[in-house]
Subunit: 396 residues, 2 copies
C-alpha cells in the first residue's frame, strides 16, 4: 500500500510513476482536439485489463468509472489497499466474467491515476498542468478512450458499461461511436446534469477553492495540499450518494461510542463519524484539481443540447443494444432521468430494455451487492453475447 505525500511536488504524479497496469502515450502523431478547442498532444492514459482478448478482439467490455473511481476495477487498490470498486461483479464466474470477456477500464482524462489531468506534467513546461490543463468534457473522455482502443487494435467493443458518470460515458460512446459499440449499459445515469446536480458540485468546488492551501490551483508549487477543502467536498457529495432511508437504517441517531451526547462539537453521532471518515480517507487517494475538472465535465454534460435540444437525435439509426438500469432510491440521478433516456431511445426505435431495480441503497446501489441488479446485468450480457456469437465459457 503506497502512501502519497501530503504536499510537496505533485503527489499524484509521484504515485502514478509506480502504479501497476498499463500506461500509453497518445496524441503523439495526431493530437486530440478537445471540445474547448485545445489540441492535446503526447498525453498519457492509464488503463487496466482483466481477462484475455479473443483472437478477433470481439469480447472486450469497456467499464467506465465514476467521478472518484479509477481503473482498478477488480484488484486490490494500489493506494488504499481496498478491493477493486467492482470486484463483486468483475472476475471469474461473475457477471462480467473474465473467463469469457476481456474487461478494460481506462482512467478518465482529467483523472489522477495516470491519465492526463491537472496533476500530470505539461510537456511544454515540465511542470504539473494545474489549472493550465484544459477543461474537458465527458465526450473528450470518450474520445481519449477511443484512441486507447485504436492503440489496442480493438475495432468494436462487445459492451460498454458504467454507473453514474460512467453511464454518461456509455451514452457518449453510443452516440459518438455507434459502430464501435455492440451493447451499452448506462446505470444510475442521466443524459443531462440538473440544476441541483450542478449546485452540489459547485459547493464541492467552492469548498476546495476556499481552502487557502489550494493556492489558486498551484498547491504543488508551494508544498501544500487543500485536503481540508477536498474532504468537505467529498462529505457533501457523499450525502447525495446515499438515500435518506439508507442513512436512517444504517445510522439513524445512534451515538458514536458514547452513551449520551457530549454537548460539544466532536462526532457524537455515528453519521458524523462516518462522513468525516469518508472525507479524510478520500484525500489520500484523490487530487483536488482533478475533482474540479471532473465535476465540471459532469456539469457540462447535456446530450440533448448538443443535438438540437432533442435527446433522441443523439441516437438516430443506432444499432446498439441498450440496457438502461436505475435504482428506486437514487435521488441524485433518479429513475425519471433513466426513463428520459429510454424514451429517447424508443423514439429512434432502438433495441432497448429498461430495469428499475428496487433498492434502498440510493445512488451508490450500483457499487453494492444488489442481487436483482446482478441478475439483470448477467441476463442482458449473456443474451447480447449470444447475439454477438461469443462462445460461452468452457464447461458452463
Amino acid at each position: 500500500m503506497m502512501t502519497p505525500r501530503n504536499g510537496g511536488g505533485s503527489p499524484a504524479v509521484e504515485w502514478t510513476l509506480t502504479l501497476p497496469g498499463q500506461r500509453v502515450h497518445l496524441g503523439t502523431q495526431r493530437p486530440l482536439t478537445l471540445d474547448c478547442g485545445v489540441a492535446l498532444s503526447d498525453f498519457p492514459v492509464a488503463y487496466q485489463m482483466y481477462g484475455r482478448m479473443n483472437p478477433s478482439r470481439s469480447n472486450v467490455i469497456l467499464v467506465c468509472h465514476a467521478l472518484t473511481g479509477d481503473q482498478f476495477v477488480a484488484e486490490t487498490h494500489p493506494i488504499t489497499g481496498k478491493p477493486g470498486w467492482w470486484a463483486a461483479l468483475v472476475g471469474s464466474g461473475l457477471p462480467l466474467d473474465t473467463d469469457r470477456y476481456c474487461i478494460l477500464c481506462i482512467n478518465v482524462l482529467g483523472g489522477c491515476m495516470g491519465s492526463a489531468g491537472p496533476s500530470e506534467i505539461n510537456p511544454d513546461t515540465g511542470e504539473p498542468w494545474g489549472l493550465g490543463f484544459p477543461v474537458i468534457t465527458i465526450a473528450d473522455m470518450v474520445r481519449a478512450q477511443a484512441m486507447v482502443l485504436d492503440h489496442l487494435g480493438i475495432e468494436q467493443l462487445f459492451a460498454v458499461i458504467g454507473g453514474s458518470m460512467g453511464g454518461m460515458q456509455v451514452l457518449e460512446w453510443a452516440s459518438l461511436y455507434p459502430h464501435r459499440v455492440f451493447a451499452a449499459v448506462p446505470i444510475a445515469a442521466t443524459a443531462q446534469h440538473s440544476a441541483q446536480n450542478i449546485a452540489f458540485h459547485e459547493v464541492g468546488r467552492q469548498a476546495i477553492m476556499a481552502d487557502p492551501d489550494w493556492c489558486g490551483g498551484d498547491y504543488w508549487r508551494y508544498d501544500k495540499n487543500p485536503h481540508r477543502g477536498l474532504a468537505v467536498a467529498r462529505m457533501a457529495a457523499h450525502i447525495t450518494y446515499l438515500s435518506e432511508h439508507k442513512l436512517t437504517e444504517k445510522f439513524g441517531r445512534q451515538l458514536q461510542e458514547r452513551s449520551a451526547v457530549t454537548y460539544g462539537f466532536d462526532a457524537d453521532f455515528q453519521v458524523e463519524s462516518y462522513l468525516r471518515y469518508q472525507g479524510i480517507s478520500f484525500v489520500e487517494r484523490f487530487d483536488a484539481n482533478s475533482y474540479l475538472y471532473i465535476t465540471r465535465a459532469m456539469d457540462y454534460f447535456d446530450m440533448a443540447a448538443r443535438h438540437g435540444g432533442v435527446l433522441a437525435n443523439a441516437f438516430v439509426d443506432t444499432r446498439v443494444r441498450f440496457c438502461v438500469i436505475s435504482f428506486t432510491s437514487d435521488w441524485l440521478y433518479p429513475t425519471v432521468e433513466s426513463r428520459r433516456i429510454v424514451k429517447a431511445l424508443n423514439a429512434v426505435a432502438a433495441d432497448v430494455s429498461f430495469a428499475e431495480i428496487a433498492s434502498n441503497n440510493g445512488h451508490d446501489a450500483f457499487l453494492l451487492e444488489e442481487p436483482e441488479f446482478r441478475r439483470v446485468l448477467s441476463g442482458f450480457l449473456d443474451a447480447a453475447a449470444a447475439h454477438r456469437g461469443l462462445p460461452p465459457v468452457r464447461g458452463s
Copy 2:
C-alpha cells in the same frame, strides 16, 4: 444599513450594540440551568415586538425564528437593509395582524443578534465566549424565551408559531409550558433530526472548522473571520431548502450572462452564481460560531427520546390547539415528519388540524408567498382567537 467589520474584535458584539429593538438581561436573580448542566447567569436576550399587547396581555403571538433568522420579522433588517423575513405575513391586515395581535420574536439563545451566544461577552472573562459558550438545545432556547415572557408579564401566549427550527421551538413550547400556550403552529418542522439532517449540518460545521481563519473558534482574538468556510456551509444548506423542481424551474441549466460555457471554473451557470451569492451575503450578517451552536441544537433535537421513546408522551393531557403545516416539496423536513407529529397528538386526543400545502418551493415555502398557506394560517388563527375570546379588529 450597517456594515459589520470583517474580523477584528467580535463583529457580532459590535453590531448588536447599536441594534434597534429591545434587549433584556435575564438570569440576574436565578440562573437558567441548561440541558448540558451549565447555569447561565446575567445573559442578554434581544427581542422585537410589533403591535400592542391588550390590557390582559392575552393577544401575544410568539414567532420563533429559524436557524439563520432573527427577531427582525416585519421591518427592514438593520444589517442587510432587506425586508423582514416574514413581512408578508406579519403586519396590519396580514394573517398575523398587528392591529389584533402583539407579535413578539426573540433572538434565540446561541444566536448573534443580541442574545447570549458565542459572540457575546462572557461576563466572567470580559471577552467573547467563543467555544466556551455552553452547547445549548432547542429546549434551552424555549426556556430563555419563557423568561422573557416572565419579564414582560405575559402569562399565556395566544399562539406560538414558527417554521423549520422555529417549528421545533413551537413543539417544545407546547411540551414544556402547555399552560402558557393557547395555540401552536409548527410549520415545515420535525420532532427529530434525521441522520440526513445531521449529515448536512455536519458538512457545514466541518466547512467552518476547516477554514484556518476559524482559529479553533477564537477568530475574534486574531482579527480573523472564517467567512469562506461559513459561505460554503450556507451554500450546502441552501440546496436543502429548495426543491429539485424549484431549482430546475428557476435556473435549470441557464447560463449566467453568457451565451456558451467558458470551459473554466467561473460561475457559468445561473445556479452557481445564485449559490455563491447566498454564501457571500450570508457571512455579512451571521457569526460562524453561532452557526455551529444552532445547528448542534437542531441535531440534538429528538422529542421522543426525552419521553421514553414515545413522542405522544411529550403532549399528554395537552389542551393546546395545534395546527400542523407541511409542504409537499419539502425534502428537508418532509410531510411524513409532520404526520408523525399529528399521529402523536392524535394519540393523546389533542385538538389538532393538519394541512399539507401543495407547493414547489421546497422547505423555504414557509418564507415565501404561498396563498394556501396564508389562508390556512389566517383561518386557524381567526378561529382560535374567537375561542380565546379575542375581539376582532375594529371595522373588520
